[in-house]
């Protein structure tokens, strides 16, 4: 019988099969609670992973697409070197657009440090050229060599150089989040296995009676499996709901969002946590099935 068939028969099982296992109070509550706690943690690990993933992607993509060229030259040569730089950029493959920043834009950049009244025209300001990459980007070393030849005062400033470790860190954080989710899943399986073993041991007489009247191992295991899978499903659903509520309460960072304020789902990512309860139920299903088969196999 395939796994799918097993799940189908379990889902279709009549109420009689559920009644043969006596309702037990304590392990039910423990299973529910643990499933809920695990699901709650999973939601946060998931949010962390997805937020880190978003950050890695946006830092890696948006920012790496823009670079700056700073031209420092004596008063008379600045305009000529700027024109030379723009010409070079125009001919460089991988550069989508390049433009010299206006005096107003440069003043806006400096404003936070020097105030709005800075007489920028009277200062020996370097000229900034902003360039946008296209496609696979440009060859930075080649561009640097050409700039050196055509405009000796031009310095290419690649943001990605200082950004690269941050992107790597965000990627590492995402990996950490997924590892945590895997560990939580494994811990859920271990917990359900222990609970199932306890339930099977506590119901030794029930199992003996069922065997005596001709119940197959599949029937007996099914009664336990169904119960534990359902409990885990309900507990995990509650934990997921609480986790999502908690995430909603965390204030959104908006545009200035970092990893902490961005700890939430974006758009369709809100669908991801909905997978947590069914996945937890599947883990419980296999854990109980294995435990039940092992215990029943040892009986007469």
């Amino acid at each position: 019988m395939t796994v799918l068939d097993r799940i189908k028969t379990l889902a279709a099982r009549d109420a009689g099969a559920d009644r043969v296992v006596p309702p037990a109070g304590f392990t039910v509550r423990l299973t529910l609670f643990t499933a809920a706690a695990m699901a709650f943690l999973t939601v946060f690990a998931l949010a962390l992973s997805l937020a880190a993933g978003r950050l890695a992607t946006s830092w890696g993509e948006d920012l790496a697409r823009a670079s700056t060229i700073r031209i420092s030259a004596p008063e008379g040569q600045l305009a000529a070197q700027t024109a030379a730089v723009l010409r070079v950029l125009d001919q460089t493959p991988g550069v989508a657009s390049a433009r010299a920043m206006t005096a107003e834009e440069q003043r806006a950049l400096l404003e936070p440090w020097f105030g709005p009244d800075l007489p920028i025209e009277s200062l020996p300001m370097p000229q900034l050229v902003e360039l946008q990459e296209s496609g696979d980007g440009y060859d930075a070393d080649g561009l640097r060599l050409r700039l050196q030849a055509e405009a000796p005062g031009a310095v290419l400033d690649e943001h990605s150089r200082w950004r690269r470790p941050l992107v790597a860190a965000a990627g590492r954080l995402r990996l950490l989040g997924w590892t945590a989710i895997l560990l939580i899943g494994a811990a859920t399986g271990a917990m359900v296995t222990l609970a199932a073993h306890a339930a099977l041991a506590a119901n030794a007489q029930v199992i003996a009676v069922l065997r005596l009247v001709g119940a197959t191992d599949g029937y007996i295991a099914g009664a336990f499996v169904r119960r534990f899978a359902l409990r885990t499903l309900v507990g995990a659903a509650a934990g997921t709901a609480i986790g999502l509520l908690a995430l909603l309460v965390v204030p959104a960072g908006g545009d200035t969002g970092g990893i902490l304020t961005g700890l939430r789902f974006a758009g369709l990512q809100w669908l991801w946590p909905l997978l947590v309860p069914p996945l937890a139920a599947v883990v419980a299903f296999f854990a109980t099935e294995l435990a039940a088969r092992r215990v029943l196999g040892e009986l007469a």
Binding site: A208, L212, G214
Partner: protein
């Protein structure tokens, strides 16, 4: 139906039964006697596959027990009604559901079985106890409920271990009449008991073979019991 061929059973090295050979023919009626602890229960357990012989061969409905997996044994039990000495039930379910349990676990539970169940409960005199929980039953009532449970699937073979152990003389006569009637309907019956009065009472109504377990082996006992 059930065949034992030179069967031995030992537990942690100590032989409980040895050299047991027996054929339970369809429609036969057997009494099994012997002192307490002589191995009557072990013998019955070998007959329904709860124990596997350490030597020799047991075949159930023509199938070699050694070659039967756990599911095959479960299927065979649906054709063998077993009444244990210490009848165990699902204590959280009412008596009626316990009696119907073989139907439930074999997927045959249906509303049409309700009449069947009521008839059977009346037959064993438990009409009043439909909704009672097993722990509320007296020893005799438990044994009658166990008998009803053993019969609900209309098995081919009925194995009863001291079915009259906890009931008074009148009730034991009634249970005997039930079993004799089932035997007349073609069922194979084996009753383990040390109640010699019961065996004598049966002599007049059924042609029973008497077996005796002593010293770890099975012998035919005469009519002199």
């Amino acid at each position: 139906m059930i065949e034992l061929d030179n069967v031995a059973y030992s537990y942690s090295g100590a032989a409980i039964l040895s050299g047991v050979s027996l054929q339970l023919a369809p429609g036969s009626f057997h009494f099994l006697t012997g002192p307490s602890g002589s191995g009557k229960t072990t013998f019955l357990k070998l007959c329904y596959g709860a124990l596997r012989p350490t030597e020799g061969q047991v075949s159930i409905f023509g199938e070699d027990l050694a070659a039967m997996d756990r599911d095959a044994v479960a299927m065979a039990r649906r054709r063998i009604g077993v009444v244990h000495q210490d009848c165990q039930f699902l204590d959280h379910l009412p008596v009626a559901e316990n009696v119907a349990l073989p139907l439930t676990v074999s997927g045959q539970a249906s509303p049409d079985q309700a009449d069947n169940l009521r008839e059977l409960m009346t037959w064993v005199g438990l009409t009043e106890k439909f909704e009672a929980l097993p722990p509320e039953l007296s020893g005799g009532e438990r044994q009658r409920a166990a008998l009803a449970r053993a019969l609900i699937l209309s098995p081919d073979v009925i194995l009863a271990d001291e079915p009259t152990g906890n009931v008074d003389w009148e009730m034991s006569q009634r249970l005997l009449r039930l079993l004799v009637e089932l035997n007349r309907m073609g069922k194979t019956v084996m009753i383990a008991t040390h109640d010699l009065m019961l065996i004598r009472a049966a002599k007049s109504v059924v042609n029973a073979r008497n077996l005796r377990i002593a010293g770890g082996s099975l012998q035919a006992a005469g009519a002199d019991l």
